[in-house]
Subunit: 367 residues, 2 copies
């Protein structure tokens, strides 16, 4: 068995060396006027398409005499976008671009295009004090497995040994993972910049893995139940035991996006004894017909909820297919006399929206 | 500009929703007998090839009547492998597999196949105390930019406020990044398991980004010089200022793989005042003709080096194209009377080898 492994590896090593020697195409190439050129070598392909968050519809590449396909689009406004190539019907990445969006299911795999702002954006790394991202491996008793957990600690956490901090529990969306909020959302850099500007108080951010079931498998209600049990029985005690937290409801927030927005609203609003700040970004909160049952406790105790909740924030972009759900939920909360903020913005179901929402909501926490 | 952005996003959101609804193919599928089936839907392709660390040569997929391509290979011994699909000449990933190998250049992009061991492997997450992985954003004065840095702290670091720790500086290879040693190398889990078994002393591991020049650009000597300056002038002081380190040469090790192996040997052996333990895994140490110049100080002070270095460890797989360089360096060290360990093993230029080397070398550090 051991000899077999060794023999198998000989050629693979040669392949790697060859791949490293091949000079990559310039793709994507951002032109001085803000347009962007994408390129691909695919001598045998009949059709190459570009899809991306910066395009209203797929666009066709054009092939030159050497078999190099290219397309120039834009100008594209400064932001961070995801895009894919579709080569003869196969949706894949831009093989010349090392920046990839990954997650917990294959549907999330895309290439990343970052068009820089002329001045640093609110999500850019700037020369300010930086917090840390910490990855933990913890034992989940409720799920019976070792799971990963991502934590942001604000600048100075290690050197302020007598200070205790509030905690934001921050959830990713479907097909993503516990790293999405910092790798794609730049949560740490957004908070570093807000802290440097004096706009927020320092707090810890906990980003758990949002699946209690196999990603893509099992009904969402089952997933939220299992994830919620892990959160409350395992994650929160683990965090309060590992970090210098202010471990009371007045210093605990729960916020999520998309699938995680549904989880944050469901878990948060059904556990007001644990959380004072609750937020849903482009939340997947399900059918309006289920609100009275899912949020029965909230509706029957609206006055108590209003006195205890310091923030209930729901935001969604009008171009998001989930906009109607957020609007319905807001209307149902209003009809149920639950005080809340409903923030209607431009934008679709993208990280562009969620970065802005975090930048807007963070200053409202732990006041 | 703002309205443009919003309009552009409408269809992208729809595309995302569709992609999420598409049921992924089972690829890779590990069969009960250890063989593995890979699948792809590519109705218009004429040829689909599989390349991977488990194959001696590229193999062709076979297409069925529905346009689904598949191939079954193996049995494949338990390990973590990288592989690619080549569709009509375009080298890309397996679009059904969310596990990707990424890095700092596109040549590193591959899909990941993990064949589990019947019992947990030395690199698997086991129910033992776990250290943390911490990501820092630090200001490099020598390079004039904000850079990322990955750090492993052993279990109990946060709760042992009076304990100080030795530090291993651990470098990745070409085309990779500061996360490679834990994402692909599982360094943290390997050390967690060794610690739990009582085989090593607890130490901190610092994994910097190994490029002082643009990845893939600039000569390697220039890169090593810039990276080395950042390491010595910025990274080490930053770490000694941020962590409870034992900040002396007796408690400092420097080890790397491939490009990082060349860097570790070059920087370590030319700075014996800073490091006591030096290691090169499958090191890219350049041409033998340059050894006398690059390591002139070492060769002219062999007796002093032998008394100061507690470990000089060089390992390479015999199937690695860099094996000859390591062997030449060992022979040159022997001729120069520099005491060292030359470890000749099976294997090629892969993470399988480097995980094993870390598992073997870690117990030799800080004795």
């Amino acid at each position: 068995m051991r000899q077999l492994t060794i023999a198998l590896l000989i050629v693979a090593s040669g392949s790697l060396a060859n791949a490293q020697q091949a000079k990559p195409l310039a793709s994507p190439e951002i032109l001085p006027d803000g347009r962007v050129t994408f390129r691909l070598i695919a001598a045998k392909a009949d059709e190459v398409l570009l899809t991306g968050e910066f395009l209203p519809a797929p666009q066709s590449f054009v092939r030159d005499a050497d078999g190099v396909w290219s397309i120039t689009v834009g100008p594209i406004p400064p932001e961070i976008y995801h895009y894919n190539f579709t080569i003869d019907g196969v949706r894949t990445i831009d093989p010349s671009n090392p920046q990839l969006k990954t997650g917990s299911t294959p549907s999330t795999i895309s290439s990343v295009l970052e068009v820089s702002h002329p001045s640093p954006a609110f999500y850019d790394a700037q020369p300010v004090p930086h917090g840390e991202i910490r990855t933990h491996w913890y034992q989940s008793k409720s799920l019976g497995t070792t799971r990963r957990l991502t934590v942001y600690t604000p600048p100075g956490y290690d050197t302020s040994q007598s200070v205790r901090y509030p905690v934001l529990y921050l959830f990713h969306g479907a097909n993503a993972d516990e790293n999405a909020w910092y790798r794609l959302g730049r949560a740490n850099l957004i908070l570093d910049n807000l802290l440097s500007a004096g706009t927020i108080k320092p707090f810890i951010v906990v980003m758990p893995f949002g699946y209690g079931v196999t990603p893509g498998g099992g009904p969402q209600a089952d997933n939220t139940a299992k994830f919620g049990k892990d959160l409350i029985d395992d994650v929160i005690p683990y965090i309060d035991g590992s970090y210098r937290t202010l471990s009371n409801r007045g210093n605990r927030a729960i916020v999520g996006l998309s699938m995680g927005g549904g989880q944050a609203l469901n878990i948060g609003l059904n556990n007001i004894a644990l959380f004072s700040y609750v937020g849903g970004f482009s939340a997947a909160i399900g059918n309006a017909a289920a609100f009275p049952k899912t949020y029965a406790t909230l509706a029957s105790n609206a006055a108590e909820a209003n006195s205890k909740l310091k923030l209930l924030w729901i935001g969604c972009g009008t171009d998001d297919s989930l906009f109607g759900a957020s609007k319905s939920f807001s209307e149902w909360l209003t009809a149920s006399n639950v005080t809340h903020t409903f923030r209607e913005t431009g934008g679709a179901h993208t990280w562009m929206v969620w970065r802005r929402y975090l930048n807007e909501v963070a200053p409202l926490l732990f006041r």
